[in-house]
């Protein structure tokens, strides 16, 4: 049973990244990815209860806009592209940066075959070639972390940008402010999405103003724009950030639940009307995406959970970890006989 590597690369787990170069097939890819994300979110609701899902899995309620935002980035799959933190357990940007539905499902259901062997919660999944950086627990933390990633691009003179998805309440945390302030002071190419996702029954505390205003951060507010427009707007925001304009805050105005994936259907129509994607492809795309997810779900059900001792994976480089001594043959005590309850006899 593989316990998951230290640092996950696409080569090790699952197929090579399905990220195409930006260009002719980008819209097709975007649609495919969007329909996969929609299907994944539905399937998570289905399997909930059956399998254990991480506490953060509620945060999957992103919408089609998240897919378009991710697609406005430079996604490469070879370690040279932009980087993205999709927010905890959020499928859309994860797929957009090249993960497959099966990898995603393995991950959130804690399979032994998953990218960290079932150890991490949330979307603690970092895949350097694909540009994925996994989230931690507290809201706001990843704005700090991705500020640092953006600073790294800048200090190396590389033309990359960092994208992070946070929920709306993350801006209540001091950590979020510290991250944004630092990124602004450093004019780091950071895009912070404040997505309007689930809230546990309580309304946001009203931010009466723009939370990035203190730092001179550019604000982009997105409503229900057509996804093609949105792609352009976010693309421009990225260029602005890359050009030394500093971070951009992208605020997603909440959509009704029914409206969350509407943008995809609008995009299909736009593609059809303008002939951007062949009709035949547009027709079979949603079905293929759903089929993919259905296949992944079936396959998932046959994938094993890790074995208990896989919990012993090192927390430090070069550290050999042995099972608790109570799970080994205890040594006999004796007068001045070396005791070694921690494992084996000491010589």
């Amino acid at each position: 049973m593989p316990a998951g590597g230290e640092s996950v690369t696409s080569g090790q787990y699952g197929p090579a990244p399905r990220v195409s170069a930006n260009g002719a097939t980008r819209l097709e890819d975007l649609l495919f990815c969007g329909f996969q994300a929609e299907a994944l979110v539905e399937s998570l609701a289905e399997i909930e209860g059956e399998v254990s899902l991480p506490p953060e899995a509620g945060a999957t309620q992103v919408d089609a806009r998240a897919v378009a935002i991710a697609f406005a980035m430079e996604r490469r799959g070879d370690g040279t592209g932009d980087v993205c933190c999709p927010g905890p357990a959020a499928p859309a940007p994860t797929l957009a940066f090249g993960a497959t539905p099966l990898e995603y499902l393995r991950h959130v259901t804690g399979r032994g075959t998953g990218p960290n062997g079932g150890r991490g919660g949330g979307l603690s999944w970092t895949d350097k070639p694909r540009g994925l950086i996994g989230a931690g627990g507290p809201p706001g933390t990843m704005t700090q972390v991705m500020a640092g990633a953006a600073m790294a691009f800048r200090s190396r003179g590389e033309p990359g940008a960092a994208l992070v998805f946070e929920g709306g309440r993350a801006a209540d945390t001091g950590g979020w402010h510290e991250g944004l302030n630092l990124a602004a002071a450093q004019r780091a190419p950071l895009l912070v999405v404040m997505s309007a996702r689930r809230d546990p029954g309580v309304p946001h505390l009203p931010h009466r103003g723009d939370p990035g205003e203190a730092y001179g951060v550019t604000l982009l507010t997105l409503h229900d724009e057509p996804l093609i427009e949105l792609l352009d707007q976010v693309g421009e925001a990225r260029s602005h950030a890359l050009g030394g304009g500093g971070p951009v805050l992208i605020r997603l105005v909440p959509l009704e639940t029914e409206a969350r994936w509407r943008g995809l259907h609008g995009l299909v129509e736009a593609c059809r009307a303008q002939g951007l994607v062949p009709e035949a492809v547009l027709d079979e795309l949603p079905g293929r995406a759903k089929g993919d997810v259905a296949h992944a779900l079936r396959r998932l059900s046959r994938e094993p959970y890790p074995d208990g001792p896989d919990a012993l994976v090192p927390v430090l480089a070069g550290e050999d970890r042995i099972p608790p001594w109570t799970r080994q043959d205890p040594v006999e005590p004796g007068n001045r006989t070396p005791l070694n309850p921690v494992g084996g006899l000491v010589v």
Partner: protein, 339 residues
């Protein structure tokens, strides 16, 4: 003000309560008893709290005393300190105690030092769910005692029964010092912990360990969820002829050194069991105290059974392996019993 709702009236009705209901009752009764008691936390009002400990509190006590806060553990714990300076008695809920960490600064630097700095006592309680076994993964499963055990000026309470949860929480609210109060999620609704509590204003004093089982051959010092595993192990060890005493610390800080020492002086053997990870766990301090006060009574090494030194893994198979099991305690108990 509305009537007292059923889920905080069970003791009044002579019915058994769960560990969680005991906590709700304690809060409700303290808020009724003392106007200066008020609650702060994320989603505790309208939503009633992530685990519903404060369900219906907002309706009854109003938004002046049940304050839904932004996600800002540092900010609202600091505010609790300010309110305590003004004579109020804040009870802060941390949604999962893992998320007390953003408040680490204000708790250790400001709150814990207040009395010593001449800024007066800060009577406040910081409470919330801890512990593993719930498939919560690394960010929703931690025990937090060792983040604060080293800080002079704090008290840390960690009950294992409904009775102690209620009585200790009431003591904590009345205490003039800041108290961290850890509630194991696995105990919240455990059927085996349901009990009928006395229908009076009882309190359980902070700082006193409880003999959960008397024995003469081996002392197990433990707390929280592990009390129940230790008791299971003790029953199994009985058939090996090993008579185990189980000491439930209940309060971790200040440590009830006297009762620990007394038990070790009786049994001559000490096993410490904690759910928290191994290195730097509370076992160390207990070992030092016993060395300082009862070394010559020791008839064997002080040993410990703990979780493995790693973040709490997410998959159930891994988490079960990570946590101390009854068999681990039995193995260690046999080892010491034969020693």
């Amino acid at each position: 003000m509305s009537e007292r709702p059923p889920h905080v009236s069970k003791t009044q009705a002579g019915e058994p309560v769960t560990f969680l209901e005991a906590i709700s009752e304690a809060l409700w009764e303290e808020m009724e008893r003392d106007e200066s008691v008020f609650l702060l936390g994320e989603d505790i009002g309208i939503y009633g709290g992530a685990f519903k400990v404060t369900r219906d509190f907002l309706d009854h006590f109003g938004s002046g005393r049940v304050v839904d806060t932004p996600i800002s553990e540092g900010g609202f714990t600091g505010a609790a300190a300010g309110a305590a300076h003004m004579g109020l008695r804040p009870v802060v809920e941390i949604q999962f105690m893992d998320f007390i960490s953003p408040a680490y600064d204000v708790i250790t630097n400001y709150i814990a030092t207040s009395r010593y700095r001449g800024s007066g006592a800060l009577p406040l309680v910081i409470r919330g769910p801890v512990g593993g076994g719930n498939r919560g993964g690394p960010f929703h499963s931690q025990n937090v005692e060792m983040a604060f055990f080293h800080t002079p000026g704090l008290k840390i309470v960690y009950p294992s029964t409904a009775r102690d949860a209620k009585g200790l929480l009431k003591s904590a609210v009345r205490d003039d010092d800041p108290v961290l109060f850890e509630e194991h999620k696995g105990l919240y609704r455990a059927p085996y912990l349901r009990e009928v509590l006395p229908d009076d204003d009882f309190v359980v004093p902070i700082g006193e360990a409880r003999v959960a089982r008397e024995g003469s051959d081996l002392t197990i010092v433990t707390y929280g969820m592990m009390v129940h595993r230790a008791l299971d192990a003790a029953r199994l060890l009985e058939s090996d002829g090993i008579d185990v005493e189980v000491l439930d610390l209940r309060t971790l800080l200040p440590l009830d050194e006297a009762r620990i020492v007394a038990s070790v002086q009786k049994t001559g053997k000490l096993l410490i069991v904690h759910e928290d990870t191994r290195t730097g766990g509370i076992a160390g301090e207990i070992a030092m105290r016993v060395n300082e006060r009862a070394f010559e009574w020791l008839d064997g090494p002080i040993l410990r059974v703990t979780s493995i030194d790693s973040p709490v893994p997410y998959s159930s198979s891994l988490e079960d392996y990570f946590l101390p099991a009854v068999e681990d305690i039995v193995t260690a108990g046999r080892y010491l019993g034969r020693y």
